[in-house]
Protein backbone atom coordinates (compact mmCIF):
# COMPACT_ATOMS: atom_id res chain seq x y z
CA UNK A 1 0.00 0.00 0.00
CA UNK A 2 2.78 2.38 0.95
CA UNK A 3 4.48 2.02 -2.43
CA UNK A 4 1.25 2.67 -4.32
CA UNK A 5 0.50 5.88 -2.49
CA UNK A 6 4.09 7.07 -2.18
CA UNK A 7 3.66 10.07 -4.55
CA UNK A 8 0.67 11.28 -2.54
CA UNK A 9 2.60 11.11 0.73
CA UNK A 10 5.38 13.09 -0.91
CA UNK A 11 2.83 15.68 -2.03
CA UNK A 12 1.32 15.96 1.47
CA UNK A 13 4.78 16.27 2.98
CA UNK A 14 5.80 19.03 0.58
CA UNK A 15 2.60 21.02 1.07
CA UNK A 16 2.84 20.92 4.87
CA UNK A 17 6.52 21.87 4.69
CA UNK A 18 5.78 24.70 2.25
CA UNK A 19 2.97 26.11 4.37
CA UNK A 20 5.23 26.34 7.42
CA UNK A 21 8.10 27.82 5.45
CA UNK A 22 5.97 30.52 3.84
CA UNK A 23 4.45 31.55 7.18
CA UNK A 24 7.92 31.63 8.72
CA UNK A 25 9.30 33.81 5.91
CA UNK A 26 6.48 36.36 6.09
CA UNK A 27 6.82 36.49 9.87
CA UNK A 28 10.57 37.07 9.66
CA UNK A 29 10.72 39.45 6.72
CA UNK A 30 7.36 41.27 6.81
CA UNK A 31 7.16 44.70 8.44
CA UNK A 32 4.91 44.88 11.51
CA UNK A 33 3.25 48.25 12.26
CA UNK A 34 0.05 47.60 14.20
CA UNK A 35 -2.66 50.25 14.71
CA UNK A 36 -6.21 50.21 16.09
CA UNK A 37 -8.20 49.51 12.91
CA UNK A 38 -5.80 46.74 11.90
CA UNK A 39 -6.16 44.92 15.22
CA UNK A 40 -9.94 45.03 15.17
CA UNK A 41 -11.77 41.76 14.35
CA UNK A 42 -12.69 41.69 10.69
CA UNK A 43 -16.42 41.95 10.02
CA UNK A 44 -16.86 42.56 6.32
CA UNK A 45 -15.84 46.21 6.64
CA UNK A 46 -18.53 47.09 9.18
CA UNK A 47 -17.83 48.46 12.63
CA UNK A 48 -17.92 45.59 15.12
CA UNK A 49 -20.48 46.93 17.59
CA UNK A 50 -22.82 45.08 19.89
CA UNK A 51 -23.51 41.44 20.58
CA UNK A 52 -22.88 38.74 18.03
CA UNK A 53 -26.22 37.15 18.95
CA UNK A 54 -28.60 39.20 16.89
CA UNK A 55 -32.09 38.44 15.63
CA UNK A 56 -32.31 38.06 11.88
CA UNK A 57 -35.30 38.41 9.68
CA UNK A 58 -36.99 35.10 8.94
CA UNK A 59 -36.56 35.71 5.21
CA UNK A 60 -32.86 34.91 5.48
CA UNK A 61 -33.80 31.42 6.60
CA UNK A 62 -36.10 31.07 3.64
CA UNK A 63 -33.28 32.01 1.30
CA UNK A 64 -31.06 29.49 3.07
CA UNK A 65 -33.69 26.80 2.57
CA UNK A 66 -33.94 27.60 -1.11
CA UNK A 67 -30.17 27.35 -1.29
CA UNK A 68 -30.35 23.81 0.08
CA UNK A 69 -32.84 22.89 -2.65
CA UNK A 70 -30.44 24.01 -5.38
CA UNK A 71 -27.47 22.57 -3.58
CA UNK A 72 -29.05 19.13 -3.60
CA UNK A 73 -30.13 19.60 -7.19
CA UNK A 74 -26.56 20.10 -8.32
CA UNK A 75 -25.48 16.95 -6.48
CA UNK A 76 -27.78 14.92 -8.71
CA UNK A 77 -27.43 16.85 -11.94
CA UNK A 78 -23.66 17.09 -12.05
CA UNK A 79 -22.90 13.35 -12.26
CA UNK A 80 -25.78 12.92 -14.71
CA UNK A 81 -24.45 15.67 -16.95
CA UNK A 82 -20.97 14.14 -16.95
CA UNK A 83 -22.24 10.68 -18.00
CA UNK A 84 -25.06 11.99 -20.17
CA UNK A 85 -24.04 10.11 -23.33
CA UNK A 86 -23.83 6.69 -21.67
CA UNK A 87 -26.94 6.94 -19.50
CA UNK A 88 -29.39 7.36 -22.34
CA UNK A 89 -32.97 8.39 -22.70
CA UNK A 90 -34.59 6.76 -19.67
CA UNK A 91 -32.33 8.63 -17.29
CA UNK A 92 -33.00 11.84 -19.19
CA UNK A 93 -36.71 11.59 -18.45
CA UNK A 94 -36.05 10.57 -14.86
CA UNK A 95 -33.99 13.71 -14.35
CA UNK A 96 -36.66 15.78 -16.09
CA UNK A 97 -39.28 14.47 -13.67
CA UNK A 98 -36.97 15.27 -10.78
CA UNK A 99 -36.38 18.80 -12.09
CA UNK A 100 -40.12 19.37 -12.61
CA UNK A 101 -40.89 18.43 -9.04
CA UNK A 102 -38.06 20.63 -7.81
CA UNK A 103 -39.23 23.58 -9.89
CA UNK A 104 -42.76 23.20 -8.58
CA UNK A 105 -41.34 23.26 -5.07
CA UNK A 106 -39.42 26.42 -5.88
CA UNK A 107 -42.52 28.15 -7.24
CA UNK A 108 -44.42 27.05 -4.16
CA UNK A 109 -41.92 28.58 -1.75
CA UNK A 110 -41.65 31.76 -3.85
CA UNK A 111 -45.41 32.09 -3.88
CA UNK A 112 -45.76 31.33 -0.18
CA UNK A 113 -42.91 33.54 0.99
CA UNK A 114 -43.19 36.39 -1.49
CA UNK A 115 -44.34 38.62 1.36
CA UNK A 116 -41.18 37.92 3.32
CA UNK A 117 -38.88 38.87 0.46
CA UNK A 118 -39.99 42.49 0.30
CA UNK A 119 -37.42 44.90 1.73
CA UNK A 120 -39.84 46.75 3.97
CA UNK A 121 -40.59 43.53 5.82
CA UNK A 122 -36.98 42.47 6.05
CA UNK A 123 -36.03 45.73 7.75
CA UNK A 124 -38.51 45.26 10.56
CA UNK A 125 -36.58 42.27 11.95
Amino acid sequence: MFEEFFPIFVLIGISVFLAFVLMLISWLLGPSRPNAPKLRPYESGMDPIGDAKERYSISFYMVAMEFIVFDLEIVFIYPWAVRYQELGFGTFWAVMVFLTILTLGLFYTLKKESKNFSISKAKQV
Partner: protein, 482 residues
Protein backbone atom coordinates in the same frame (compact mmCIF):
# COMPACT_ATOMS: atom_id res chain seq x y z
CA UNK B 1 -40.81 -0.06 -22.68
CA UNK B 2 -40.13 -1.74 -19.39
CA UNK B 3 -40.24 1.48 -17.40
CA UNK B 4 -43.78 2.20 -18.61
CA UNK B 5 -44.91 -1.26 -17.57
CA UNK B 6 -43.33 -0.71 -14.15
CA UNK B 7 -45.08 2.62 -13.81
CA UNK B 8 -48.38 1.04 -14.76
CA UNK B 9 -47.93 -1.43 -11.89
CA UNK B 10 -46.99 1.42 -9.60
CA UNK B 11 -49.96 3.57 -10.55
CA UNK B 12 -51.48 4.21 -7.07
CA UNK B 13 -48.23 5.76 -5.84
CA UNK B 14 -47.82 7.76 -9.07
CA UNK B 15 -51.38 9.11 -8.91
CA UNK B 16 -51.04 10.12 -5.27
CA UNK B 17 -47.67 11.77 -5.97
CA UNK B 18 -49.01 13.78 -8.91
CA UNK B 19 -52.10 14.64 -6.88
CA UNK B 20 -49.89 15.84 -4.03
CA UNK B 21 -47.97 18.15 -6.38
CA UNK B 22 -51.21 19.48 -7.88
CA UNK B 23 -52.81 20.30 -4.53
CA UNK B 24 -49.52 21.80 -3.32
CA UNK B 25 -49.48 24.21 -6.25
CA UNK B 26 -53.15 24.97 -5.71
CA UNK B 27 -52.32 25.90 -2.15
CA UNK B 28 -49.42 28.05 -3.38
CA UNK B 29 -51.69 29.94 -5.76
CA UNK B 30 -54.29 30.39 -3.03
CA UNK B 31 -57.10 28.21 -4.26
CA UNK B 32 -60.09 27.81 -1.97
CA UNK B 33 -59.58 25.26 0.77
CA UNK B 34 -62.72 23.40 -0.28
CA UNK B 35 -61.50 23.08 -3.86
CA UNK B 36 -58.15 21.75 -2.64
CA UNK B 37 -59.99 19.20 -0.52
CA UNK B 38 -62.12 18.11 -3.46
CA UNK B 39 -59.09 17.74 -5.74
CA UNK B 40 -57.36 15.65 -3.06
CA UNK B 41 -60.41 13.42 -2.83
CA UNK B 42 -60.53 13.10 -6.62
CA UNK B 43 -56.96 11.86 -6.84
CA UNK B 44 -57.33 9.60 -3.81
CA UNK B 45 -60.50 8.06 -5.21
CA UNK B 46 -58.66 7.28 -8.44
CA UNK B 47 -55.76 5.76 -6.50
CA UNK B 48 -58.20 3.74 -4.38
CA UNK B 49 -59.93 2.27 -7.42
CA UNK B 50 -56.62 1.23 -8.96
CA UNK B 51 -55.31 -0.08 -5.64
CA UNK B 52 -58.44 -2.23 -5.34
CA UNK B 53 -57.90 -3.55 -8.86
CA UNK B 54 -54.24 -4.27 -8.05
CA UNK B 55 -55.27 -6.01 -4.83
CA UNK B 56 -57.40 -8.46 -6.79
CA UNK B 57 -55.57 -8.89 -10.09
CA UNK B 58 -51.97 -7.64 -9.93
CA UNK B 59 -49.31 -10.17 -10.80
CA UNK B 60 -46.58 -10.96 -8.31
CA UNK B 61 -43.22 -9.64 -9.42
CA UNK B 62 -40.65 -6.93 -8.95
CA UNK B 63 -40.50 -3.46 -10.50
CA UNK B 64 -37.83 -0.88 -11.28
CA UNK B 65 -34.99 -3.41 -11.55
CA UNK B 66 -35.82 -5.23 -8.28
CA UNK B 67 -36.22 -2.08 -6.21
CA UNK B 68 -39.94 -2.52 -5.55
CA UNK B 69 -42.33 -5.46 -5.29
CA UNK B 70 -45.73 -5.75 -6.91
CA UNK B 71 -48.71 -7.93 -6.18
CA UNK B 72 -49.52 -9.97 -3.05
CA UNK B 73 -48.34 -8.33 0.18
CA UNK B 74 -47.29 -5.12 -1.57
CA UNK B 75 -50.68 -4.68 -3.26
CA UNK B 76 -52.42 -5.42 0.04
CA UNK B 77 -50.34 -2.83 1.90
CA UNK B 78 -50.94 -0.23 -0.80
CA UNK B 79 -54.66 -0.86 -0.62
CA UNK B 80 -54.91 -0.40 3.17
CA UNK B 81 -52.75 2.72 3.08
CA UNK B 82 -54.75 4.41 0.32
CA UNK B 83 -58.01 3.30 1.91
CA UNK B 84 -56.99 4.73 5.28
CA UNK B 85 -55.83 7.99 3.72
CA UNK B 86 -59.11 8.35 1.83
CA UNK B 87 -61.13 8.28 5.04
CA UNK B 88 -58.58 10.32 6.96
CA UNK B 89 -58.86 13.16 4.45
CA UNK B 90 -62.66 13.21 4.74
CA UNK B 91 -62.48 13.34 8.53
CA UNK B 92 -59.56 15.79 8.62
CA UNK B 93 -61.30 18.35 6.41
CA UNK B 94 -64.27 18.54 8.71
CA UNK B 95 -62.20 18.36 11.88
CA UNK B 96 -59.85 21.22 10.97
CA UNK B 97 -62.79 23.46 10.07
CA UNK B 98 -64.40 22.45 13.35
CA UNK B 99 -61.39 23.43 15.47
CA UNK B 100 -60.96 26.59 13.35
CA UNK B 101 -57.49 25.82 12.05
CA UNK B 102 -58.22 25.07 8.44
CA UNK B 103 -54.73 24.87 6.97
CA UNK B 104 -54.83 23.68 3.34
CA UNK B 105 -51.18 22.55 3.68
CA UNK B 106 -52.45 19.43 5.38
CA UNK B 107 -53.63 17.91 2.07
CA UNK B 108 -50.33 17.94 0.15
CA UNK B 109 -48.58 16.72 3.30
CA UNK B 110 -51.04 13.84 3.65
CA UNK B 111 -50.55 12.97 -0.03
CA UNK B 112 -46.75 12.97 0.18
CA UNK B 113 -46.94 10.96 3.37
CA UNK B 114 -49.10 8.42 1.56
CA UNK B 115 -46.56 8.17 -1.27
CA UNK B 116 -43.90 7.40 1.33
CA UNK B 117 -46.11 4.73 2.88
CA UNK B 118 -46.80 3.06 -0.46
CA UNK B 119 -43.08 3.06 -1.29
CA UNK B 120 -42.42 1.55 2.14
CA UNK B 121 -45.12 -1.12 1.83
CA UNK B 122 -43.94 -2.18 -1.65
CA UNK B 123 -40.21 -2.04 -1.02
CA UNK B 124 -38.02 -4.89 -2.20
CA UNK B 125 -34.71 -3.27 -1.33
CA UNK B 126 -33.47 -1.82 1.93
CA UNK B 127 -32.69 1.48 0.19
CA UNK B 128 -36.29 1.74 -1.01
CA UNK B 129 -37.46 0.92 2.50
CA UNK B 130 -35.35 3.77 3.79
CA UNK B 131 -36.64 6.28 1.22
CA UNK B 132 -40.24 5.32 1.94
CA UNK B 133 -39.69 5.45 5.69
CA UNK B 134 -38.17 8.92 5.51
CA UNK B 135 -40.74 10.40 3.11
CA UNK B 136 -43.42 9.13 5.44
CA UNK B 137 -41.76 10.26 8.66
CA UNK B 138 -40.82 13.77 7.55
CA UNK B 139 -44.38 14.43 6.40
CA UNK B 140 -45.68 13.03 9.68
CA UNK B 141 -43.42 15.31 11.75
CA UNK B 142 -44.94 18.29 9.96
CA UNK B 143 -48.47 16.91 10.22
CA UNK B 144 -48.15 16.33 13.98
CA UNK B 145 -47.51 20.05 14.51
CA UNK B 146 -49.79 21.35 11.79
CA UNK B 147 -51.79 23.40 14.30
CA UNK B 148 -48.93 25.80 14.90
CA UNK B 149 -50.35 27.88 17.73
CA UNK B 150 -51.24 24.90 19.88
CA UNK B 151 -48.47 24.25 22.35
CA UNK B 152 -49.17 20.56 22.75
CA UNK B 153 -49.07 20.01 18.99
CA UNK B 154 -45.72 21.73 18.54
CA UNK B 155 -44.30 19.82 21.49
CA UNK B 156 -45.45 16.52 20.04
CA UNK B 157 -44.02 17.37 16.61
CA UNK B 158 -40.63 18.21 18.11
CA UNK B 159 -40.55 15.07 20.26
CA UNK B 160 -41.54 12.94 17.31
CA UNK B 161 -38.93 14.58 15.10
CA UNK B 162 -35.99 14.21 17.47
CA UNK B 163 -36.73 10.60 18.43
CA UNK B 164 -37.65 9.71 14.85
CA UNK B 165 -34.40 11.11 13.50
CA UNK B 166 -32.56 9.09 16.13
CA UNK B 167 -34.27 5.86 15.11
CA UNK B 168 -33.52 6.61 11.46
CA UNK B 169 -29.87 6.59 12.42
CA UNK B 170 -30.32 3.06 13.76
CA UNK B 171 -31.98 2.01 10.54
CA UNK B 172 -29.20 3.38 8.34
CA UNK B 173 -26.54 1.76 10.50
CA UNK B 174 -28.44 -1.52 10.25
CA UNK B 175 -28.51 -1.28 6.45
CA UNK B 176 -24.81 -0.49 6.39
CA UNK B 177 -23.95 -3.50 8.56
CA UNK B 178 -26.18 -5.85 6.59
CA UNK B 179 -24.62 -4.60 3.38
CA UNK B 180 -21.21 -5.20 4.90
CA UNK B 181 -22.14 -8.76 5.84
CA UNK B 182 -24.06 -9.83 2.74
CA UNK B 183 -22.81 -7.50 -0.01
CA UNK B 184 -26.28 -6.47 -1.10
CA UNK B 185 -29.25 -4.35 -0.10
CA UNK B 186 -31.71 -6.40 -2.11
CA UNK B 187 -34.08 -8.35 0.14
CA UNK B 188 -33.84 -11.67 -1.71
CA UNK B 189 -30.07 -11.48 -1.98
CA UNK B 190 -29.79 -10.81 1.75
CA UNK B 191 -32.10 -13.79 2.23
CA UNK B 192 -29.65 -16.04 0.39
CA UNK B 193 -27.01 -15.34 3.03
CA UNK B 194 -26.51 -18.18 5.51
CA UNK B 195 -23.35 -17.40 7.43
CA UNK B 196 -24.07 -15.65 10.73
CA UNK B 197 -21.25 -13.26 11.48
CA UNK B 198 -21.26 -10.59 14.20
CA UNK B 199 -21.80 -7.92 11.54
CA UNK B 200 -24.88 -9.72 10.26
CA UNK B 201 -26.46 -10.02 13.71
CA UNK B 202 -25.60 -6.41 14.47
CA UNK B 203 -27.34 -5.32 11.29
CA UNK B 204 -30.43 -7.42 11.96
CA UNK B 205 -30.83 -6.07 15.49
CA UNK B 206 -30.35 -2.44 14.38
CA UNK B 207 -32.99 -2.94 11.69
CA UNK B 208 -35.41 -4.42 14.21
CA UNK B 209 -34.82 -1.56 16.68
CA UNK B 210 -35.69 0.99 14.01
CA UNK B 211 -38.85 -0.87 13.07
CA UNK B 212 -39.87 -1.34 16.71
CA UNK B 213 -39.55 2.40 17.10
CA UNK B 214 -41.69 3.18 14.08
CA UNK B 215 -44.46 0.80 15.14
CA UNK B 216 -44.05 1.92 18.78
CA UNK B 217 -43.36 -1.42 20.44
CA UNK B 218 -42.24 -1.40 24.09
CA UNK B 219 -39.52 -0.37 25.08
CA UNK B 220 -39.36 2.03 22.12
CA UNK B 221 -42.85 3.41 22.70
CA UNK B 222 -42.03 6.48 24.84
CA UNK B 223 -42.93 8.99 22.14
CA UNK B 224 -46.31 7.47 21.31
CA UNK B 225 -48.65 8.74 24.07
CA UNK B 226 -47.38 12.32 23.89
CA UNK B 227 -47.34 12.51 20.12
CA UNK B 228 -50.75 10.88 19.73
CA UNK B 229 -52.29 13.14 22.35
CA UNK B 230 -50.77 16.33 20.99
CA UNK B 231 -51.44 15.81 17.29
CA UNK B 232 -54.73 16.76 15.66
CA UNK B 233 -57.07 13.84 16.35
CA UNK B 234 -57.66 12.73 12.78
CA UNK B 235 -53.92 12.93 12.08
CA UNK B 236 -53.46 10.65 15.09
CA UNK B 237 -55.85 8.21 13.47
CA UNK B 238 -53.74 8.38 10.33
CA UNK B 239 -50.46 7.94 12.20
CA UNK B 240 -51.70 5.00 14.24
CA UNK B 241 -53.16 3.10 11.30
CA UNK B 242 -51.67 3.90 7.91
CA UNK B 243 -48.09 4.47 9.01
CA UNK B 244 -48.11 1.36 11.20
CA UNK B 245 -49.64 -0.65 8.38
CA UNK B 246 -46.94 0.45 5.96
CA UNK B 247 -44.15 -0.25 8.46
CA UNK B 248 -45.50 -3.68 9.43
CA UNK B 249 -46.10 -4.74 5.81
CA UNK B 250 -42.50 -3.76 5.08
CA UNK B 251 -41.43 -5.72 8.16
CA UNK B 252 -43.36 -8.77 6.95
CA UNK B 253 -41.64 -8.51 3.56
CA UNK B 254 -38.23 -8.17 5.20
CA UNK B 255 -38.79 -11.06 7.61
CA UNK B 256 -40.14 -13.30 4.88
CA UNK B 257 -37.67 -12.50 2.11
CA UNK B 258 -34.52 -11.15 3.72
CA UNK B 259 -34.19 -12.78 7.11
CA UNK B 260 -35.38 -16.40 6.95
CA UNK B 261 -31.93 -17.38 8.24
CA UNK B 262 -32.49 -15.39 11.44
CA UNK B 263 -36.05 -16.71 11.94
CA UNK B 264 -35.43 -18.51 15.25
CA UNK B 265 -33.72 -15.59 16.94
CA UNK B 266 -36.34 -13.18 15.62
CA UNK B 267 -39.12 -15.37 16.99
CA UNK B 268 -37.75 -15.22 20.53
CA UNK B 269 -37.05 -11.47 20.26
CA UNK B 270 -40.52 -10.75 18.94
CA UNK B 271 -42.10 -12.92 21.64
CA UNK B 272 -40.40 -10.99 24.44
CA UNK B 273 -41.17 -7.60 22.88
CA UNK B 274 -44.77 -8.68 22.25
CA UNK B 275 -45.27 -9.66 25.89
CA UNK B 276 -43.88 -6.35 27.13
CA UNK B 277 -45.93 -4.38 24.61
CA UNK B 278 -49.21 -6.10 25.35
CA UNK B 279 -48.83 -5.97 29.12
CA UNK B 280 -47.65 -2.36 29.31
CA UNK B 281 -50.06 -1.02 26.70
CA UNK B 282 -53.10 -2.60 28.30
CA UNK B 283 -52.26 -1.88 31.94
CA UNK B 284 -51.29 1.76 31.42
CA UNK B 285 -54.34 2.40 29.25
CA UNK B 286 -56.53 1.46 32.23
CA UNK B 287 -55.59 4.50 34.27
CA UNK B 288 -55.86 7.10 31.52
CA UNK B 289 -58.59 9.68 31.86
CA UNK B 290 -57.86 11.32 28.53
CA UNK B 291 -59.63 9.32 25.84
CA UNK B 292 -57.06 10.18 23.18
CA UNK B 293 -54.22 9.07 25.46
CA UNK B 294 -56.14 5.90 26.29
CA UNK B 295 -56.46 5.16 22.56
CA UNK B 296 -52.73 5.85 22.16
CA UNK B 297 -51.89 3.19 24.76
CA UNK B 298 -54.46 0.90 23.21
CA UNK B 299 -52.69 1.27 19.87
CA UNK B 300 -49.44 0.25 21.60
CA UNK B 301 -51.27 -2.82 22.92
CA UNK B 302 -52.52 -3.67 19.43
CA UNK B 303 -48.96 -3.57 18.13
CA UNK B 304 -48.31 -6.21 20.77
CA UNK B 305 -50.95 -8.51 19.22
CA UNK B 306 -49.48 -7.88 15.78
CA UNK B 307 -46.04 -8.84 17.10
CA UNK B 308 -47.50 -12.14 18.35
CA UNK B 309 -48.32 -12.96 14.74
CA UNK B 310 -44.87 -11.89 13.59
CA UNK B 311 -43.32 -13.97 16.38
CA UNK B 312 -45.06 -17.06 15.01
CA UNK B 313 -43.22 -16.27 11.78
CA UNK B 314 -45.17 -18.88 9.81
CA UNK B 315 -47.34 -18.32 6.74
CA UNK B 316 -50.28 -18.51 9.10
CA UNK B 317 -48.79 -15.79 11.27
CA UNK B 318 -48.18 -13.44 8.36
CA UNK B 319 -51.72 -14.03 7.08
CA UNK B 320 -53.10 -13.21 10.51
CA UNK B 321 -50.97 -10.06 10.77
CA UNK B 322 -52.15 -8.73 7.40
CA UNK B 323 -55.79 -9.41 8.25
CA UNK B 324 -55.31 -7.76 11.63
CA UNK B 325 -53.87 -4.66 9.97
CA UNK B 326 -57.02 -4.30 7.85
CA UNK B 327 -59.34 -4.79 10.83
CA UNK B 328 -57.25 -2.48 13.02
CA UNK B 329 -57.23 0.28 10.40
CA UNK B 330 -61.01 0.14 10.05
CA UNK B 331 -61.81 0.28 13.74
CA UNK B 332 -59.08 2.66 14.84
CA UNK B 333 -59.80 5.32 12.19
CA UNK B 334 -63.46 4.97 13.17
CA UNK B 335 -62.82 5.36 16.90
CA UNK B 336 -60.57 8.38 16.43
CA UNK B 337 -63.11 9.78 13.99
CA UNK B 338 -65.85 9.81 16.62
CA UNK B 339 -63.45 11.23 19.23
CA UNK B 340 -62.57 13.97 16.73
CA UNK B 341 -66.27 14.66 16.24
CA UNK B 342 -66.82 15.10 19.99
CA UNK B 343 -63.72 17.27 20.18
CA UNK B 344 -64.43 19.58 17.27
CA UNK B 345 -67.79 20.60 18.64
CA UNK B 346 -66.12 21.85 21.80
CA UNK B 347 -62.66 22.93 22.73
CA UNK B 348 -59.49 20.92 22.57
CA UNK B 349 -59.61 19.93 26.24
CA UNK B 350 -62.72 17.93 25.65
CA UNK B 351 -60.96 14.59 25.57
CA UNK B 352 -61.37 14.02 29.30
CA UNK B 353 -63.50 10.96 29.90
CA UNK B 354 -65.65 12.84 32.44
CA UNK B 355 -66.96 15.10 29.73
CA UNK B 356 -68.20 12.11 27.73
CA UNK B 357 -70.94 11.57 30.31
CA UNK B 358 -74.32 11.16 28.71
CA UNK B 359 -73.12 11.95 25.21
CA UNK B 360 -74.45 8.64 23.86
CA UNK B 361 -78.01 9.94 23.98
CA UNK B 362 -77.25 13.37 22.52
CA UNK B 363 -76.36 12.09 19.07
CA UNK B 364 -77.43 8.42 19.09
CA UNK B 365 -75.72 7.51 15.81
CA UNK B 366 -72.31 8.72 16.96
CA UNK B 367 -72.70 6.96 20.30
CA UNK B 368 -73.52 3.68 18.57
CA UNK B 369 -70.63 4.07 16.14
CA UNK B 370 -68.12 4.70 18.93
CA UNK B 371 -69.50 1.67 20.79
CA UNK B 372 -69.08 -0.54 17.73
CA UNK B 373 -65.47 0.59 17.20
CA UNK B 374 -64.58 0.21 20.87
CA UNK B 375 -66.15 -3.26 21.07
CA UNK B 376 -64.21 -4.25 17.99
CA UNK B 377 -60.99 -2.91 19.51
CA UNK B 378 -61.75 -4.96 22.63
CA UNK B 379 -62.11 -8.04 20.43
CA UNK B 380 -65.76 -8.92 20.94
CA UNK B 381 -67.43 -11.14 18.32
CA UNK B 382 -68.83 -10.76 15.71
CA UNK B 383 -66.63 -7.76 14.88
CA UNK B 384 -63.44 -7.69 12.82
CA UNK B 385 -61.22 -7.12 15.87
CA UNK B 386 -62.23 -10.49 17.26
CA UNK B 387 -61.34 -12.40 14.09
CA UNK B 388 -58.02 -10.54 13.95
CA UNK B 389 -57.09 -11.53 17.49
CA UNK B 390 -58.31 -15.08 16.95
CA UNK B 391 -56.17 -15.52 13.83
CA UNK B 392 -53.09 -14.05 15.49
CA UNK B 393 -53.37 -16.18 18.61
CA UNK B 394 -54.26 -19.30 16.61
CA UNK B 395 -51.15 -18.84 14.47
CA UNK B 396 -49.04 -18.50 17.63
CA UNK B 397 -50.55 -21.68 19.12
CA UNK B 398 -49.83 -23.49 15.87
CA UNK B 399 -46.21 -22.34 16.12
CA UNK B 400 -45.99 -23.66 19.68
CA UNK B 401 -45.84 -20.34 21.52
CA UNK B 402 -48.38 -21.31 24.16
CA UNK B 403 -47.05 -19.08 26.97
CA UNK B 404 -47.12 -16.06 24.71
CA UNK B 405 -50.73 -16.74 23.78
CA UNK B 406 -51.80 -17.15 27.42
CA UNK B 407 -50.33 -13.76 28.32
CA UNK B 408 -51.84 -12.23 25.20
CA UNK B 409 -55.33 -13.49 25.91
CA UNK B 410 -55.15 -12.32 29.53
CA UNK B 411 -53.95 -8.87 28.45
CA UNK B 412 -56.68 -8.74 25.85
CA UNK B 413 -59.31 -9.62 28.46
CA UNK B 414 -58.02 -6.83 30.69
CA UNK B 415 -58.33 -4.40 27.80
CA UNK B 416 -62.12 -4.77 27.82
CA UNK B 417 -62.14 -2.69 31.01
CA UNK B 418 -60.93 0.58 29.55
CA UNK B 419 -62.88 0.26 26.31
CA UNK B 420 -66.11 -0.46 28.17
CA UNK B 421 -65.37 2.35 30.61
CA UNK B 422 -65.84 4.88 27.81
CA UNK B 423 -69.19 3.29 26.97
CA UNK B 424 -70.22 3.41 30.61
CA UNK B 425 -69.62 7.15 30.56
CA UNK B 426 -71.45 7.48 27.25
CA UNK B 427 -74.62 5.75 28.39
CA UNK B 428 -74.79 5.28 32.15
CA UNK B 429 -73.62 8.62 33.56
CA UNK B 430 -75.46 11.89 33.76
CA UNK B 431 -73.66 14.89 32.33
CA UNK B 432 -72.98 17.53 34.98
CA UNK B 433 -73.20 20.51 32.69
CA UNK B 434 -75.42 20.84 29.65
CA UNK B 435 -73.54 19.96 26.45
CA UNK B 436 -74.80 20.84 23.03
CA UNK B 437 -73.66 18.60 20.22
CA UNK B 438 -73.96 19.81 16.65
CA UNK B 439 -75.33 17.41 14.09
CA UNK B 440 -72.43 15.83 12.21
CA UNK B 441 -72.04 16.56 8.53
CA UNK B 442 -73.66 13.93 6.36
CA UNK B 443 -70.40 12.91 4.66
CA UNK B 444 -68.71 12.66 8.07
CA UNK B 445 -71.25 10.33 9.61
CA UNK B 446 -71.59 8.42 6.34
CA UNK B 447 -67.88 7.61 6.16
CA UNK B 448 -67.93 6.48 9.79
CA UNK B 449 -70.95 4.29 9.06
CA UNK B 450 -69.06 2.75 6.13
CA UNK B 451 -66.15 1.95 8.44
CA UNK B 452 -68.49 0.42 11.03
CA UNK B 453 -70.31 -1.66 8.42
CA UNK B 454 -66.99 -2.93 7.06
CA UNK B 455 -65.87 -3.76 10.61
CA UNK B 456 -69.02 -5.81 11.01
CA UNK B 457 -68.73 -7.35 7.54
CA UNK B 458 -65.15 -8.53 7.95
CA UNK B 459 -66.10 -9.87 11.37
CA UNK B 460 -68.98 -11.97 10.12
CA UNK B 461 -67.60 -13.01 6.71
CA UNK B 462 -63.81 -12.95 6.99
CA UNK B 463 -63.25 -15.93 4.69
CA UNK B 464 -63.07 -13.97 1.44
CA UNK B 465 -60.30 -11.65 2.58
CA UNK B 466 -58.38 -14.26 4.59
CA UNK B 467 -58.33 -16.61 1.59
CA UNK B 468 -56.98 -13.78 -0.54
CA UNK B 469 -54.24 -13.02 1.99
CA UNK B 470 -53.41 -16.69 2.52
CA UNK B 471 -52.84 -17.08 -1.21
CA UNK B 472 -49.88 -14.68 -0.88
CA UNK B 473 -48.09 -17.17 1.35
CA UNK B 474 -48.40 -20.41 -0.68
CA UNK B 475 -51.90 -21.00 0.66
CA UNK B 476 -50.84 -22.54 3.97
CA UNK B 477 -52.75 -19.95 5.95
CA UNK B 478 -56.08 -21.54 5.09
CA UNK B 479 -55.82 -24.22 7.76
CA UNK B 480 -57.59 -22.35 10.56
CA UNK B 481 -59.75 -19.84 8.75
CA UNK B 482 -63.16 -19.95 10.40
Amino acid sequence: MEILNDLLNYLPAAIVAVGGLVVMMMDGYKAKSRLIYQTTMFFLAGALVIATYDLLYQEVGTLFSDMAASGSTAAFGTFIVVFGTFFTVILTHDYLIGVKHNYPQVYPLLMFCTVGMIVLATANDLVTVFIGLETMSISLYALAGIIRDKQLGVESALKYFILGAFSTGFFLYGIALLYGATGSTNLSEIGAYTDGSMIYWGGVSMLLVAFFFKISAVPFHMWTPDVYTGSPTTITAYMSTASKTAAIVALVLILERALPYAADQITSTMAIIAIMTMVLGNTVAMVQDNVKRMLAYSSIAHVGYLLVGLAAGTDLGFTAVLYYLLAYSLMNIGAFGVVAYYEKNHDVHFNNIESYAGLGYKQPLMGILLSVFLLSLAGIPPLAGFIGKYLVFAAAVEAGLINLVIIGVLASAASAYFYLRVMVYLYFKESKEPVKLMKPLRVYSFSLVVLAVLTLYFGILPAGITELIASYFSGNGLAIVP
